[in-house]
């Protein structure tokens, strides 16, 4: 079992997540008679969920830092209408519209970050207010109309990577992407081993590394054929490329940068972080602002997919994003969670939606099942104490040290008092 965990690098939790996703896909694949793993369907899953997954990436940082953001759907909606109107009425080029949208997101994020980080209003309240305000703003600015967006924006949300080069039977862009991904897997694995050696720790057995690389490589190769082997003109969706880039960027940010480390520290123990010299306000400001920028991006991707911005865009997105993050292993009390886990959590929800729909299950039942899955996933974690500090484990946690003391000598080696 230990080697099995090592296979997935991140311990039982990540293992469980990936396993659940694979199991879900297989179950639906069988019960729908093979309708899930078709090029068109997987392309639809990505296109139809990329905006929620983008939100989940921002949301997990907010939740790790110990906050919540309820305004993301409304922020996405107000940015969508501003971008659509600016392009149609002011005649600005599409890319300027995108930049404008991201800038509006940054301003909104700075506004909410100000209240949370510098005034000390809880994120829940600040963003509940934002949820109402920006929903209203969307409808006020757009006069509750639906405004179409140009082709280029549509490409962001529903486009596919271009065809080029020799006929390989696959979309060549997708093929290149797949090969790059496999190369990255190999590179990461060698780095992981080298880092273990440098630390003097024993790296995982070679077969573990080999199995991990081969298994991941096989999955990526299969996905490459799946996404790239559809009808001509389709491929890995462009929104999926945006998403993949964000996963890499934010995965790096959260685990490798000082900013990311401080987000975890603030969520884990705000007082300790502050005494250690972590700038709490700047960290809180960053997560809130970042969330709104990503919400703006999600809004732009969405109006691209639906070819227009409307007054009810983004309704309930905050709930989908939050659910994805918690299914992905984040803790309600903050300090725990991963970018990759949240995206996998979002994919679990997406596959669930998609599979049930393909099976002909109505949206009423689908909603009920999704609710139960969220509850079960978090309950499973709490029960297993799978590395998260849940509300449950907080209740039984010792402050400082009492019950847990004296298990191991603190400073072993010398026991004499006077030197």
């Amino acid at each position: 079992m230990k080697s099995l965990k090592e296979l997935f690098g991140g311990g039982a939790r990540q293992f469980g997540m990936v396993f659940a996703l694979l199991a879900l896909v297989l179950i639906f694949q069988i019960s729908t008679g093979g309708k899930v793993l078709t090029p068109t369907n997987v392309q639809n899953i990505i296109n139809g969920n990329s905006y929620v997954l983008i939100l989940a990436i921002g949301m997990v940082l907010v939740i790790i830092a110990g906050h919540i953001d309820l305004s993301v759907g409304s922020v996405a909606a107000v940015v969508g209408i501003i971008v659509a109107l600016a392009i149609r009425d002011w005649g600005i080029p599409w890319w300027l519209g995108v930049l404008l949208g991201l800038a509006v997101g940054a301003v909104i994020g700075a506004w909410q970050g100000f209240w949370v980080a510098y005034v000390g209003i809880p994120g829940f309240i600040t963003t509940l207010a934002g949820m109402m305000f920006f929903r209203g703003a969307n409808q006020y600015i757009g006069k509750s109309n639906t405004i179409p967006v140009p082709k280029e924006i549509q490409y962001l949300g529903a486009g596919y990577l271009p065809e080029w080069g020799p006929n390989t039977g696959l979309n060549n862009s997708t093929l290149v992407l797949g090969i790059a991904a496999i190369a990255a897997v190999v590179w990461v694995e060698t780095r992981r081993r080298r880092s273990a050696v440098r630390l003097g720790a024993e790296p995982a057995p070679v077969w573990v590394s080999a199995v991990r690389v081969v298994a991941l490589g096989a999955v990526i190769a299969y996905l490459t054929f799946l996404f790239g082997g559809g009808r001509v003109g389709t491929s890995f969706p462009f929104s999926g490329v945006i998403l993949a880039a964000l996963v890499l960027i934010y995965g790096f940010l959260s685990t490798r940068t000082v900013t990311g480390r401080h987000v975890y520290a603030v969520g884990g123990n705000k007082v300790a972080a502050s005494l250690s010299g972590v700038n709490i306000r700047r960290t809180n400001f960053f997560v809130m602002m970042n969330m709104s920028v990503l919400a703006a991006l999600a809004g732009i991707v969405f109006i691209g997919r639906s070819t227009a911005s409307g007054p009810f865009d983004g309704t309930n997105w905050e709930l989908d994003a939050i659910a994805a993050v918690f299914i992905g292993g984040a803790a309600v009390s903050g300090g725990v969670g991963t970018v990759a886990g949240s995206v996998i959590g979002g994919l679990v929800m997406a596959v669930l939606n998609n599979g049930l729909q393909l099976m002909g299950v109505g949206s009423d039942l689908t909603q009920m099942i999704k609710g139960l899955v969220l509850l079960a996933a978090v309950a499973f974690d709490v029960y297993n104490k799978g590395g998260r500090t849940s509300i449950f484990s907080r209740l039984f946690k010792s402050r400082g040290g009492d019950g847990t003391a004296n298990l191991t000598p603190a400073v072993a080696g010398t026991t004499s008092m006077q030197g």
Binding site: S195, R198, L199, G200, A201, F252, R256, T257, V258, R261, Y264, A265, G267, G268, N269, V271, A272, A273, S274, L275, S276, G277, V278, G335, V336, G387, T389, K397, R399, G400, G401, D402, T404, A405, N406, L407, T408, P409, A410, V411, A412, G413, T414, T415, S416, M417, Q418, G419
Partner: protein
Amino acid sequence: MTAGTTQRRPLLSMRQITKRFGAVEALVGVDLDVHAGEVVAMVGDNGAGKSTLAKVIAGVLQPEAGLIELGGEEVTVPTPAAAHALGISIVFQDLALCENLSVADNIFLGRERRVMRGGPMDRDGMELAARSILRDLTVNIPSVRTPVRELSAGQRQAVAIARTLTSEPRLLVLDEPTAALSVVQTAEVLTLVQRLRDLGLGVIIIGHNLADLRAVSDRIEVLRHGRNNGSFESATAHPEEIIAAIAGAGRVPEPRWSTAP
């Protein structure tokens, strides 16, 4: 032990430090000197102001009045980061660790090393350094990647102390470092304190166990109601005298500290 050191200019010199929390006078005109290679024990009843004084030294709290000199130069300590830059390290009474982060993460929290200016963290470098610090302290911790959540109280204490040694500090403040520890663990932390003193650090150790503190320190300073209330040579003072100073009964040996008759 102090004979040679008291002649030299003190490493840390605090004069007339005053700190209020609303109506509470946590510190009133407190003086304190610490020399390099000296361990000063700080005792006093609960609420006497010991932790407040430690936090003033560590840049967590700002005094309303008073003078702080470090190595003969007047300094201000506006933030914990500034204290760190001045070579002051502190272990807080409540440890101040992030339980969700690993041992190495905690040891370098707030002063992470980077591979280059403005670049990502040097995680390998920090883990290696954390390991060597813990090895120097002869601390038994399974791996620097273990989350602090999974450590015993004594191991956490060791991590908290290791935190202070990431950059070579000149002055170490330990606020009740043995409060959560067993007898054996306490003895080991006290041994550690002496090792740090022998390295030439100035150490302030706050605590309640007089026997332990007398054994480990060169001098004992008593605080009472936020005021200096006596200064004792650890080697020669009688415990009853110190207890009297803590409790406020009886005479006070060195009247120059005292504001009350």
